[in-house]
Amino acid sequence: MKHSVVSLTINGAERQMLVAPGSTLIDVLRESQGLTGTRRGCEQGACGTCTVLVDGKTAMSCMLPVETIEGAHVETIEGLTPPQGLHPIQEAFLQGFATQCGFCTSGMIMVAAALLAKNPNPSREDVVRAISGNICRCTGYEAIIDAILDAAVRIRSAAHAEAA
């Protein structure tokens, strides 16, 4: 078994790491980078808790061997969180009581971030589609859907305020 060196840009910072063959992105994030906000839910690609952005698109980090994404830009919940305060999606989840146990929250927020980047004015059904790969066992989804719609409003009005 031969380890290899992989470079990734993680939350804006270039990182090099020595990895065993087949090391998954979630292992690297959690274990060598200390970014534990990305949660391990199933390692089968079927729960979405480990969702991160790879080159701007959502990916389940449990199914990505890091050797195959050499040079990629990875964004996690830690990267989404601004230095001060909260990202509008985080604020919407907080205010909308869209978290219970909190284990699915990082993945949900990353999916929401990708959705809103692509579609700033999503319909309810767009939101439902976007989170359809993310399991939540506590909330019944309603508050999460509402929070993402609310986040879209927050982001649009912030952009509007900035433009004005």
Binding site: C42, I77, L86, G102, F103, R137
Partner: protein, 453 residues
């Protein structure tokens, strides 16, 4: 968002609260949305060993031998634990509250009673090495016939070393409720309505699987970072199994990625701690999703027969219930859950004659245990389906049938506890109001606080 209808029980509601009753922000929400909430798995230690379990591939078999030679040769394997390593090899959660029996070994000695039962634990430097070594362990089985049906199990040959295929409650083969004279009730009833209800097992399916990391400390103690729902249950059971004084152990947890009752069993912690004691290294044991789905204990399947003596006007005067809880291979919390199921009968209704036989039955499947609504959820499905069948049979309004029989303050329940704080009448009235349904005047003005009407 939330609606509170304050018109009910206005006199009983305490006035003048300032913080209680307010929708203050969740104390943990900011941690959740930033990913900073610390779950057990976020606490890591260098030099940690990973534990993976060799599991039974048979429903019911004798273990003729366990060959670990090839497994030990896998690079990175440190140790393989078997029953011989466990100081007190009984895993009996309810021992702490005086309920036995000792029926489940931590690691089995000579037989497995369900597919997926843990047999021996591989400790290795990486999860991959532990998984590979677990695949290399060869278990020699001699298959025995399994029993899967609860009623068949009641009469088939006992499959455990000791005892019966059902739990014995103080000399009875079931938990009994006896209230009034149910046979007399049936004789007096205008109609007798009898149906059978059933469920299959249900998984808690929390997004975070069950797990822990046990870490030996410099002072000789062991700290266990766990997502258990009950720290002291876990600590006390571990001490009994490991044969160490209680103060050798420290449990740290309290932040759990969903439980629903699935993290009340104490399965992972004792073995992880044993591994830590024997290797003097941190040991992590976390269920895979497949293990969480099929090996962690589910909500029990139940089979429930309800026989009701009913009068033409809708009054239920006798209810006989025969209930089987499918405990799976071992009792875990099922003995308690069966009692809870019995106590819940005959539902929120005042019925003068009640007879309940609730059986806690063992079968060769994954042991069931507590889950949200323990002992009650499936009973409610049966009871409330039965109420609908009665209403249809009598051509009565289903809400009014329930109101007619609803328990109210001062009534005596079948387990001889006097009702107080009842509000069944009011939730039915409130639901009717929400949907714009008009109840007959006598039901619209009923109250749980009085027997009038």
């Amino acid at each position: 968002m939330e609606k509170i209808d304050t018109s009910f029980f206005a006199k009983e509601r305490e006035a003048e609260l300032s913080v209680v009753g307010e929708s203050v922000q969740r104390a943990d929400a900011r941690g959740h949305v930033t990913g900073r909430t610390q779950f057990y798995e976020d606490v890591t230690f260098p030099n940690t060993l990973h534990l993976k379990m060799v599991r039974s591939t048979r429903h019911h078999a004798l273990i003729k031998g366990i060959d670990t030679e090839a497994a030990m040769k896998v690079p990175g394997v440190v140790r393989i634990l078997t029953h011989k390593d466990v100081p007190n090899n009984w895993y009996t959660i309810l021992k702490l509250i005086g309920v036995g029996p000792d029926d489940e070994p931590v690691l089995p000695e000579d037989r497995v009673l369900f597919m997926g039962e843990q047999i021996c634990a591989v400790l290795a430097e990486t999860p991959q090495a532990a998984l590979e070594a677990a695949r290399r362990v060869v278990v020699d089985y001699e298959d025995l016939p399994p029993v899967f049906d609860v009623e068949a199990a009641m009469t088939s040959t006992p499959f455990k070393k000791d005892g019966t295929n059902y739990f014995v409650y103080e000399g009875h083969n079931c938990r009994r409720i006896r209230f009034g004279d149910v046979e007399k009730g049936f004789a007096e009833a205008d109609h007798v309505i009898e149906h059978r209800y059933e469920s299959s097992p249900i998984e808690h399916a929390p997004t975070e699987t069950t797990g822990c990391t046990a870490k030996p400390e410099g002072n000789g103690r062991i700290t266990i970072y766990s997502n258990t729902q009950a720290l002291y249950f876990t600590l006390d059971n571990m001490a009994l199994i490991l044969g160490v004084p209680f103060n050798k152990l420290r449990l740290v947890g309290g932040t759990v990625g969903g439980g629903f009752g699935g993290k009340v069993d104490v399965i992972v912690e004792p073995i992880a701690a044993l591994g830590a004691m024997l290797t003097n290294r941190p040991v992590k044991y976390a269920y895979s999703r497949a293990e969480e789905m099929q090996v962690s204990s589910p909500r029990a399947a139940e089979r429930i027969y309800i026989k009701d003596g009913v009068m033409k006007d809708g009054r239920i005067i006798a209810r006989k219930i025969t209930l089987y809880v499918d405990a799976g291979a071992y009792c875990r919390h099922s003995t308690y859950g069966t009692t809870k199921a019995a106590a819940h009968m005959p539902g929120p209704y005042t019925i003068p004659n009640v007879h309940v036989d609730a059986y806690c039955v063992y079968t060769n499947r994954t042991p069931s245990s507590a889950m949200r609504g323990f002992g009650v959820t499936i009973g409610d499905f049966a009871l409330e389906s039965q109420m609908d069948q009665i209403a249809r049979f009598l051509d009565m309004d289903p809400m009014e049938l329930r109101l007619l029989n609803a328990y109210r303050d001062g009534d005596m329940k079948a387990h001889r506890k006097k009702v107080d704080g009842a509000a069944l009448v009011e939730v039915i009235q409130a639901a009717a109001r929400q949907t714009g349904k008009q109840l007959a005047p006598r039901f619209a003005k009923m109250s749980s606080m009085t027997r009038e009407g």
